[in-house]
Symmetry: C2
């Protein structure tokens, strides 16, 4: 895999200088066209052997191109903020929006290779990391991103010679970090595990490009050309929906039985019971969030449900138990311009709570498989793949200690009608009801089907759905609070074992 | 994930009997249309809880449909033949050809879930198996297959009740195997790890369908409908190339340096040296293949090269060392009709040697990224994804103990010209040279580029390419033999550690 990057590629100075002007111009043009179309981002990953010119090349690209449209990002030690969240959070927050280019140094690959080289884990764990990277990149590409991966390579001999030359040059010896010398010790392992990673993650949608790093003219021109060709090819693609062949439909229900229909909608609480239980559960939540184990967890509560099912009221009863500094409520409406320029999960990743914190999502990423599906805001291929993307997302949360509770507040059609009518009567509630609510009501059956598929495909052992019988608001509120409390207690209980 | 398959779905007998005739007719029609188009195979995976009616449902499908177009396959204990080959071999040999349906019981999922349930390995290894299954299914779908995955489910209570009912019924008690009782003990673990597998492998291209198994009418109708809808949707798709967006080109060489060009084509052996070394290496090979460690390995040698580079002669010198029962030579020409009805790697999987054996491929799976790429026999998306599919394939071989050696026999243009002309002069060699050879010669540069990409992307630590300077046939033959011997010795040496 690295053979042809060890044969001494080089370009003479004259050729280089003759080629660069046209290349620069074409790169700039592609960059502006990218900005103009704002249809996809370009993500450039920079990896490889120390001393192979990674930094210099990126520096040069910034000189050649318009640096205002490039974000160069280094990922070294995780910050406190990053350590308090799932590992991928740092990459999500740094994703370039559509129309821009992000250059990622020290990305997900660096971490997994270094970890394996230094024996922090074995091949099986490396392979889990590899599978995670594949899924992330697949998702990015499905969302339209152009992902270009460069591996800068030097043979062992070349690397040693280069480190030696730098050391002997007083003007450049400062460039060598202790890490570089360390890597010269671990070269063989680094290249061996690097090759494993490249072999597995070089996929048609995001192949690796191995660049011999010893000659600056060669490596700069090589990277510049690949970048240019990649951008030109992607810019030339017709912006249309992808045709996935043989995507099988999910299958319709063949009887009248479904989870929503199976709910006992007569469940209710008397006022006195409600008031007692509400106070009890609120006190329990307040206690749990102050529990020392909470430092190792975060809490995410997702509220979805029929229109007028009482999400707002339920959320208020949860919040009422807490100090406002402990939680955050994130209402999800139409995405902002900035959010539309990113993969659809981006706007939820940005609100993931740090350890110890609690975030309430009033509607959520499930919009993709609910309203976006039903209203045709995205293609069937897009919402079909969303189920597994969401499961991956929630798995990452769960692995990082985030307790994920998801509520579907269900009311029946008659109750909804009564509440709609009531809202139209009461002046201060009138803002709550719109034409759209009435239109959605006409789509009751398709929404019900979408909810069924959603629960079937995303209710998992790590992040189960809780269906809440919400015809009676009291019953619903207490059930929500109790479910959150039970989930937190279960998570805390694992620490005692 | 299993909630809605635990709520007691059932269909009454009258409804069932009223629905079945139309469903049967539509299924039969879809089956014949599938056969007619012969554009893709249907692969049905059957998994789930014991006692949930997996067997009965498949039996019924066979009654409803034309069983001549369905292959039902059970994978229980591996046979000796299967144990001597990579684990996936048993599935490859059983793949249904285009136009037919294969129903796989006890498939790759059964194995990984059982292994995890019984503690044979931990989550990280399970995740490796999951990633392998994903890659296999992605490849099958990219090759056009319709993959339908059914998980037959019962709640714990339902399963126990069903086993009890069977036991108490003298007519049916024989149906319960010791395994069934065992599974009732391990139900919780089985469902937990099953859910992990389903969550990870339910992808847009091959989603899982969870079927509640307690009511025979319900489960039969549910499976029949999903099967029908899946087939109808796939049959309706226009048979066209898939448009993958943002597939970046691999990048052109920017200098004149490449691995082929870097070969020292003047390398040669004098006749006397040749004869000595040839005999030595042949004896070495004969000894190695009789070595006791060979029982834990197999050997695959791939020969590719320029036309007239001397592949045949080199292969004969390898074979000359051996007892004909020890090796098999597989010449790869245009695929047969049977082979064209399968994924392109199928015709190589069928020839993978058992442990202890040696297979020589005279041309190989690399045709995909050489002739098929250059001549446009497959789309760019197809050969671009082939690199990683081939790497996956060779990794499976390597993991199973197969030593893979790959040779590119390189000659320069002038030498090829001389050999072509010589062949045209000599009557018994004339059959070796065709119009096509001359045409290929005109495409020298594009072939060279394809060879470069091939080596860059598939020369791996587990299956490296050896470039052979073949202007001198003697040099080439000895280098080939010596490389094979060195590779075998290196593999055997690992056992001593």
């Amino acid at each position: 895999m690295f053979e042809s990057a060890e044969i001494g590629h080089s370009i003479d100075k004259d050729t280089f200088e003759a080629e660069v002007p046209a290349l620069r111009e074409a790169l700039l043009e592609a960059q502006y066209e990218l900005k103009q179309q704002s249809r996809f981002p370009v993500i450039v990953l920079i990896n490889g052997v120390e001393g192979a010119g990674k930094g210099e090349t990126v520096k040069l690209l910034n000189e050649w191109m318009d640096p205002r449209l490039i974000d160069v990002l280094t990922f070294d030690q995780q910050t406190d903020e990053e350590l308090a969240r799932p590992p991928a959070w740092r990459y999500w927050r740094a994703l370039p929006p559509k129309g821009r280019m992000g250059v990622f140094f020290g990305n997900w690959y660096s971490q997994m290779i270094q970890g394996r080289v230094h024996g922090q884990f074995k091949d099986a764990v490396l392979d889990q990391a590899i599978a995670g990277a594949e899924r992330l990149e697949q998702m990015l590409c499905d969302e339209g991103a152009l992902v270009l991966k460069f591996w800068f390579h030097l043979s062992k001999k070349q690397m040693k010679a280069r480190l030696k030359a730098l050391r002997d040059d007083p003007l450049h010896s400062w460039r060598i970090s202790p890490l570089d010398w360390q890597q010269s010790q671990t070269y063989d392992r680094f290249v061996r595990f690097g090759e494993r990673v490249l072999r597995r993650t070089s996929r048609d949608f995001a192949p690796w490009h191995v660049i011999e790093g010893s000659d600056p003219y060669y490596r700069s021109l090589a990277v510049g050309r690949i970048l240019l060709e990649g951008m030109q090819a992607a810019l030339a693609v017709e912006p249309k929906g992808k045709s996935k062949s043989n995507v099988a439909p999910l299958g319709r229900s063949i009887d009248d039985l479904n989870l929503i229909g199976a709910l006992d909608m007569t469940l209710r609480l008397e006022k006195k019971d409600y008031q007692e239980q509400l106070v009890t559960e609120q006190a329990r939540l307040a206690g749990l969030l102050r529990h020392k184990h909470m430092r190792r967890h975060a809490l995410v509560a997702v509220f979805e449900g029929n229109d007028a099912a009482g999400k707002g009221g339920a959320i208020r009863r949860v919040a009422a138990a807490l100090d406002p500094r402990q939680y955050r409520i994130v209402p999800i409406a139409a995405p902002t311009e900035e959010e539309r320029a990113q993969p659809y999960l981006w706007r939820f990743w940005r609100h993931i709570p740090a350890l110890g914190k609690f975030t309430i999502f009033d509607r959520s990423w499930y919009g993709r498989v609910l309203v976006e599906r039903v209203e045709g805001f995205c293609s069937p291929a897009d919402w079909m793949r969303a189920y597994s993307e969401i499961n991956d997302f929630e798995e990452q949360l769960s692995n990082a200690g985030v307790v994920v509770v998801k509520f579907w507040l269900a009311i029946d059609r008659q109750t909804q009608l009564e509440r709609f009518e009531e809202r139209e009567q009461i002046p201060f509630k009138r803002y709550k009801i719109t034409e759209e609510d009435w239109r959605n009501r006409d789509k009751w059956d398709v929404y019900t089907e979408a909810v069924g598929d959603m629960v079937d495909r995303t209710s998992t052992e790590i992040a189960p759905w809780t269906l809440v019988e919400a015809n009676d608001k009291r019953w619903a509120r207490v059930k929500v609070l109790r479910t959150i409390n039970d989930a937190l207690e279960a998570a805390f209980a694992k620490h005692k074992k």
